[in-house]
Amino acid sequence: MSNLLEIQGLFKNYDNIQALNNVNLSISPGHITGLLGPNGSGKTTLIKIICGLLRPSSGTVLVDGNPIGPKSKALISYLPDKTYLSNNMTILSVIEMFKDFYDDFDDNRAYEMLNSLNIDPRRKLKTLSKGNKEKVQLILVMSRRAKLYILDEPIAGVDPAARDYILRTIISNYDPSASIIISTHLIADIEPVLDEVIFLQNGYIRLYQPVDDIRANTGKSVDEFFREVYRC
């Protein structure tokens, strides 16, 4: 099984609404893929199906050859678009919890990143600003030695300097046999770290291409190209 993620003929309906419409996707190891699309195009639905949080209406999803289940979930490190941590916990206790939960969690890595971003691990989550809370969650997710990282809007509330640090950390730390899927609206910021991008529209894949191919073919950045494709 060479592909880390293999999706075939994926459909998802919510009552009468078709959220995903025949999605086919293969992602090989060592790739950073941007999942882009306007609001309501199906990004989070797709992510939740890959993570096993939603059931598809039809179609297959394989993660490193495994159907969605405990095995696939153990391979995926997922950053949701909403927080799920208890506000009353300290960062230290959350790190202990992650160590308990995940065999592949590397707490040294987490402490190192917290230190670089000047976040005191003794603090309670509720005392942190929105952006710092987001950083902590991203640090937790990136401190696992997972096969597939799925980040849903990872840097939206983070200041530009910390964004740079986070992106640099992602590219210098991730294992070449692992892949990352990043869903975001901040295309210009993450564009240089992406291998390829997926444009979702109304639940189907409109385009799936390497970043440099888009730039070479259109003479535009992916950010500009996105604005043109989805002009309202």
Binding site: I171, P192, D195, D212, G219, S221, E224
Partner: protein, 120 residues
Amino acid sequence: MPWNLNSDSPIFIQIIDHLQNDIVSGFYKPGDKLPSVRELAAEAGVNPNTMQKALSEFELTGLVHSERTSGRFITEDQKLIEELKTSLVQTQIKEFFENMKKLGFTENEILQLVKEHTDK
């Protein structure tokens, strides 16, 4: 030198341009070892696969070469570096003249203006 990648041309081409400048400016000396793909990628803020692709393409010019286990090195062939320098200079001059002509200056006027600029 900071990487300042712009948004419209392919990233791997900009990486090659950047490395060429670093060689011509003497930031990298002949025979120097280049940092690893990962280090360069982190420094430039680009995907390591893109950096890898850029370096492989760049190798085709002979300006860098890789030694199986020890990494990538700048060429020691001074002639190649001189050729690169000449071609970068030509590109810059050509571009400058084209831009000035767009502004409506003739070649003689441009030369005159350049001279006034350097005399200042």
